[in-house]
Amino acid sequence: MPENPQTGATGDDTHEEAISDAHTEYVIMSSIRTYTVVYILLMVLATAKVGFHGLGLGNTAFIGIILVLATVKILLIAGYFQHLIEEPRSITYMMLTSLFMVLLLVAAAGYSIQGA
């Protein structure tokens, strides 16, 4: 088996490295594609918020739509840009617990002054 004089690697090694490099490059390109799609989606959703604002919907309907759009955006950023989908599920649960605490505080405090 011919040996690479620079690295000492055999031809088989070089071939495997080439395959490995190609695979890494494929993974990287594929992730760039994913990131780009997510970025475009985020820009569209941000624009949609203002678009719905201009439609003059009722307050409740508008708040509902905004909440949905914001939630989708947050999920996209956290899931793909922060790689939460690749992390152990326990990290997601920890962040959801934190979010739950905020919602608990806001909802309970908000309710406490209704009809008071």
Binding site: S90, I91, T97, V102, L105, S112
Partner: protein, 897 residues
């Protein structure tokens, strides 16, 4: 090995990052604050000797004394005292070399110490804060009433507390990461020692509760320094503070008490020679309390205008939280019944704590009932109740000091003197606090009471001095111990069960003679290099149960006099508690077993290998960061006058001439022209030093502990630093959530539809949304470029991120400037305050992100950092994307709704 100076050198204590050193510093500093808080109490108790006061203190001085006593004891003594134990003991109990982030740990301590110095400095800056430790609004802001006065000193108190909470946040991130990521092989969660369990739950509670307090204090500091209106209006300010403070405040009770509870579990096991009865149920009960602690906060607000439905609901949840405690109390009692009690000093304090806690708990149930609370709220009943609860925690922690004293100092204390201390302590405690139940109609925080209550108050004052005196016995005992005390063996307690007792007293700098492992069911120290040679180095043994069910060969207990130490988890090696003191093996607790005897030769051999891991223990930069932040905050506290000076005309337009002149007059610290420049210089100088220190910290070569083999459930499959970043972000979610929640709450109070929104157009917000989203995309591209080791690519994408961040700030500045040009400032009204503060807080996060980004850009440019190893870029990205997510919420909330 480390270049840590010897213990006798002052330099060592300035540079050390070792968890044991930091633990000792925490303990010593906390004891100092115990004395300081105690002196305040003795002074105002002396003032209370007569109805209406003896004249020892003026009204304002009385307010400051009571407030300072409360703040010092709750914040600067109780939690840090427990943190000291946790620092020292938790890494030992779980088999770690140190905390996950040693420099962050030192930083946490220095923030704690300097926040305490800032607190004390307040008395010399026109007077400290006097609005009570609960800091109720609107008494907590100068704009509403002159009673609190806008002195730099009272600002300083609030800012000192904010700095203290930052210290807690650092500690929380560190302990969460350490306990979840660095448990020795075979040490599953169920098997963890109970003190570590209690501390784990404490830091989980801290994570959420203290973040809410941090948000509240941030808003309050901004109110005080920049004169925003969060807590100054009659449009819900008081309730807003109540919700934010008590969302933290009630879990704080358990945050303070849980470490004490964990200590009681440890000492009860050790001194009854019996595994804690119902151990797993006790753990479940603790978890339940930790969860429930966030569901009861409104029982502190029964006397406010919150509606009856929510009061009733919170009454039910409050009653509910007492149930898991019942289980724990009965577990302790039954453990005594089943075991053979040895009445040592640590046990006496633990038993005393149990008795006091039962009394405190029962009297608290009265306050949980709405109707009874209407009577008791704001009276000495509350004072007596919470002292029985909180100081019962102190009692257990004092027991902990005796318990771990031999381990920490290597010296034994005087047992008889310890028992005398307990007797004096217990009598003094009850003489001080029990009469307060009897004089319950006395309103708290005032020094006027009915003449018929004189005897109770005088008894309480006598008790206070007796109680204070009892601590002199303790200090005398410890001084004697250090000077003349006999040398402590590795394990002075016959039936102790946890790993800290398996190593010398005091433990060596690197803790272990090899890699600790529980894979065989008992603590062993492994020489990984030898193991690699013999069996391939794979240390995992699938047969070992990591979560409770560890199997132990009971024949191992027969051979020697050294105790088999178990950390529990339900394994029983011999369920007979022996009556003979000489018989060592007792099946008590704890899962994994620590065999305190280690073959000396193998230990030495293993130590050689272990030392090769080389972790650093010294850095001056945490100290410098603490010092510079202290200087900066000291300067910030005197900025109110600067704001008034700069914006007096604008304030006149909005607040009226009278309010502004009041502000100017109470800002009497500025009456000499030389003081104000000093504050400005301190602020800017501190900020400059802070930036330099951060840079030096970032470029310092420092190796922290790593554990290649560890128990990490449920957080395996992620690297340790990244997990730490996520924990920090979880905390930041609460900080931002509370600030955003404040906006929603105040808007609901005013009427959602009729609320006046501030931005005049949506497009600047949308443009900034585009910019931030694009910057998030460029950060991700930087990550990809680093993975490809493409230096130019990283420089270009990271540089683009920074330019975009600056663009965001530019647009934000333009927006604000446009508002200012129309005369709309942050003090113009609550809606303006919320707009400027919330978006400003977000902008501050962007600025901090930019500083990190610029630093990383510099590192890439100068030393080709992160190329091929993009982990640090990913940590930065996590933060930057989080800032992006916050804007996703702020944009519609402020611009579209």
């Amino acid at each position: 090995m480390s270049e840590l100076p010897p213990r006798r050198s002052l330099k060592r204590w300035l540079v050390t990052t070792n968890h044991k050193d930091v633990g000792v510093m925490y303990l010593v500093t906390a004891m100092f604050f115990l004395l300081l808080g105690g002196i305040f109490a003795l002074v105002f108790r002396a003032h209370l000797w007569e109805a209406g006061g003896t004249g020892l203190l003026s009204g304002s001085e009385f307010n400051q004394s009571v407030t300072s006593h409360g703040l010092i004891m709750v914040f600067w003594f109780l939690s840090p005292f427990a943190t000291g134990f946790a620092n020292y003991v938790v890494p030992l109990q779980i088999g770690a070399d140190d905390l996950a982030f040693p420099r962050l740990n030192a930083l946490s301590y220095w923030f704690y110490l300097f926040s305490g110095i800032l607190f004390m400095l307040a008395f010399f800056q026109g007077g400290s804060f006097g609005g009570g430790w609960t800091m109720y609004a609107p008494l907590n802001v100068p704009t509403y009433t002159l009673a609190m006065e806008a002195t730099a000193g009272s600002n300083m108190t609030i800012i000192a507390l904010m700095m203290f909470v930052m210290s807690i946040t650092f500690g929380t991130v560190n302990f969460m990461t350490t306990i979840h990521r660095m448990r020795a092989e075979g040490l599953g969660l169920w098997n963890m020692p109970l003190f570590t369990w209690s501390w784990l739950l404490t830091v989980w509670m801290m994570l959420f509760a203290f973040a809410a307090l941090l948000a509240a204090l941030l808003l309050l500091s901004i109110d005080r320094v920049f004169l925003t209106q969060y807590f100054a209006t009659d449009q819900g300010s008081s309730l807003l503070w109540g919700h934010l403070f008590w969302f933290f405040g009630h879990p704080e009770v358990y945050i303070v008490f849980f470490p004490a509870l964990g200590l009681m579990f440890e000492t009860f096991q050790t001194f009854t020679g019996r595994r804690l009865v119902g151990r797993k149920w006790v753990i479940i009960a603790m978890v339940l309390v930790a969860v429930q602690s966030f569901l009861v906060w409104m029982h502190h607000m029964f006397l406010t205008t919150i509606n009856l439905e929510i009061k009733t609901l919170y009454m039910a949840t409050t009653i509910g939280i007492s149930l898991p405690f019942d289980l724990m109390v009965f577990a302790l009692i039954y453990t005594m019944v089943k075991g053979r009690v040895r009445f040592t000093t640590p046990f006496l304090f633990s038993l005393g704590a149990l008795v006091l806690f039962i009394l405190g708990g029962i009297t608290g149930v009265f306050l949980g009932a709405v109707v009874l609370d209407y009577e008791f709220r704001g009276t000495y009943w509350v004072v007596a109740h919470f002292h029985y609860v909180m100081v019962s925690g102190v009692t257990a922690l004092v027991g902990g000091l005796y318990y771990w004293w031999p381990k920490i100092t290597g010296k034994m204390y005087h047992e008889f003197a310890g028992k005398v201390h307990f007797a004096a302590y217990f009598i003094g405690f009850n003489l001080l606090y029990f009469p307060m139940f009897l004089t319950w109609e006395t309103p708290r925080r005032v020094f006027h009471y009915q003449a018929g209550d004189l005897i109770w108050h005088q008894l309480a004052t006598v008790g206070a001095y007796f109680f204070g005196f009892s601590f002199l016995i303790m200090f005398g005992n410890f001084a004697w111990s250090l000077l003349y005390g006999p040398k402590a063996p590795d394990n002075p307690w016959k039936f102790s069960r946890t790993a800290e007792w398996a190593i010398p007293s005091p433990p060596p700098l690197d803790n272990w003679p090899g890699r600790p492992t529980y894979r065989s069911g008992k603590l062993e120290f492994v020489d990984d290099s030898a193991e690699t040679a013999t069996d391939g180095g794979e240390a995992d043994d699938p047969a070992v149960a990591t979560d409770g069910g560890t199997t132990v060969d009971d024949t191992e207990t027969d051979d020697d006099d050294d105790p088999i130490i178990m950390t529990d988890g339900g394994t029983v090696i011999n369920d007979e508690v022996t009556d003979k003191v000489t018989d060592q093996p007792v099946a008590t607790d704890g899962g994994a077993v620590t065999d305190a005897t280690i073959d000396a030769d193998s230990a030495d051999e293993a130590a050689t290998t272990h030392e090769e891991a080389h972790i650093d223990h010294a850095s001056i930069w945490p100290f410098m960061l603490g010092l510079s932040t202290f200087i900066m905050f000291a300067g910030l506290s005197g900025m109110t006058d600067v704001i008034i000076e700069l914006f007096s005309t604008e304030m006149t337009n909005h607040l009226g001439q009278e309010a502004v002149s009041d502000q100017a007059s109470v800002g009497r610290i500025a009456d000499s022209g030389s003081i104000r420049p000093n504050y400005i210089a301190a602020f800017l100088g501190g900020l400059g030093l802070l930036l330099v220190s951060l840079f030096k910290l970032g470029t310092e070569d420092f190796t922290g502990p790593t554990m290649n083999i560890a128990e990490r459930w449920p957080f395996e499959g992620i690297d340790t630093t990244k997990f730490g970043v996520w924990v920090f972000l979880a905390s930041d979610v609460i900080v931002f959530g509370a600030a955003i929640g404040a906006y929603i709450f105040m808007r609901l109070w005013s009427g959602w539809e009729t609320f006046h929104t501030i931005p005049s157009a949506a497009w600047p917000g949308l443009l900034n949304t585009y910019i931030l989203l694009t910057s998030s995309f460029t950060v991700i591209l930087a990550l990809v470029m680093a993975e490809r080791s493409n230096k130019k690519g990283v420089l270009a994408t990271l540089g683009a991120t920074i330019v975009l961040g600056l663009g965001f700030l530019g647009i934000k500045s333009w927006e604000w400037a446009e508002k200012f040009s129309h005369g709309d400032y942050w003090f113009s009204g609550i809606e303006y305050s919320m707009y400027y503060v919330t978006t400003g807080l977000h902008a501050l996060h962007v600025i901090m992100g930019l500083l990190i980004g610029i630093f990383m850009l510099y590192r890439v440019y100068t030393i080709d950092a992160y190329l091929g190893d993009n982990r640090h870029l990913e940590y930065f990205g996590l933060y930057w994307h989080f800032v992006d997510i916050v804007w996703v919420i702020l944009f519609p909330l402020f611009y579209l709704m």
